[in-house]
């Protein structure tokens, strides 16, 4: 499970990920990622950039890959979109992991009980 929650880097990074570029360690890992495994992003940027049409386009691209978005929250009179608190990210990732484990258990139990 990869958690990508760099703040300022996300403005440029989301474009690199959406475009499939890989010119540093982080984006090279993403470029080689197996999308059957969860990948989360927690962006942080100014509201102007967040509302820019490119952001929507890039988020659409990464959503299409199966990357899960943990949306930023408005702060500073909606001038900025801040990364959510680490505790929120942790609980979101934990919840997703538990859900995945449950689904795997259900899948294996239905197979073992003779259901196809």
């Amino acid at each position: 499970m990869l958690l990508f929650s760099a703040s300022f880097a996300f403005i440029h990074g989301r474009h690199e990920i959406a475009g499939g570029l890989c010119d540093d360690l982080l984006t090279t890992i993403v470029r080689a990622w197996d999308y059957r495994k969860p990948l989360f992003v927690a962006p942080s940027m100014s509201t102007c950039i967040w509302r820019n049409s490119f952001t929507e386009e890039h988020l659409g691209e990464i959503d299409g890959l199966g990357i899960m978005l943990i949306p930023p929250v408005p702060v500073n009179g909606d001038l900025e979109r801040a990364m959510v608190e680490p505790a929120t990210i942790i609980s979101r990732v934990k919840a997703s992991y538990k859900k995945q484990k449950m689904e795997q258990k259900e899948g294996s139990s239905s197979t073992s009980s003779g259901q196809v």
């Binding site: 475009g19 499939g20 570029l21 890989c22 470029r31 080689a32």
Partner: protein, 214 residues
């Protein structure tokens, strides 16, 4: 090895009909470990064609300049900037684009593939591609880890560059530099050379046939 020698491409089209010249091949390497074979590739081509070489900054980690053919100039990003001093000076990526009959990128890394597919041009190599005349042949020989080769981005990017008219020389399955076994290794220099030469010579024959028919 600076590109101090001027790259004159214009004004030679008249001479082409008079005396057939060697094909001009622009070989380029991007930042993949397969660039260790780049000097070998240049040697393969230099027997048959006039060769100029372009290297990205990443590829320089792997290219042994000492083993490059003596008659092949290796251009780098540094040359792009140092060759231009004032308005009116020639621009290296444009001159190389005009000079070449064929372009070959071998190895093509996953990152450079992404840049080409997105139309980005932030170094000498990608600026040449961005200015390329797609009526001229263009080949790429990708090299990347199997996990990257199998990643959904690869297919997307190849669809984009295929639409431009770029020809793929597919990678091969073997033990990779990282130790993994799988698809993604660059085709052998001899395969790249024979693919390009066969293509060029078949096109030349077609051209001669058309002239004869007239």
């Amino acid at each position: 090895m600076a590109g101090s020698e001027p790259v004159s491409a214009e004004g030679e089209s008249m001479a082409v009909d008079a005396a057939p010249r060697k094909p001009r091949i622009l070989l380029a390497a991007s930042g993949s470990v397969a660039a260790v074979k780049f000097a070998n590739l240049c040697h393969c081509f230099s027997e048959w064609a006039d060769v100029r070489a372009v290297s990205s900054s990443g590829s320089l980690h792997f290219i042994d300049r000492a083993s490059m053919p003596k008659d092949v100039i290796l251009y780098t990003d540094e040359d792009e900037w140092s060759s231009w001093k004032k308005l009116g000076d020639s621009v290296l990526h444009i001159e190389l684009r005009k000079w070449a009959d064929i372009m070959v990128i071998a190895p093509l890394s996953a990152n450079t593939l992404g840049k080409i597919a997105g139309g980005l041009c932030d170094n000498l190599l990608t600026c040449i591609v961005r200015a390329w005349d797609y009526s001229k042949p263009f080949f790429v020989a990708p090299a990347m880890n199997t996990l990257m080769w199998n990643n959904p981005f690869t297919e997307r990017h190849f669809i984009s560059i295929d639409e431009l008219g770029i020809s793929l020389i597919p990678p091969v399955t073997k033990r990779l530099a990282c130790g993994d076994y799988g698809n993604g290794a660059m085709a052998e220099p001899s395969t790249i050379y024979s693919t390009v030469r066969l293509f060029y010579e078949s096109k030349a024959q077609q051209g001669r046939a058309v002239v004869t028919l007239r």
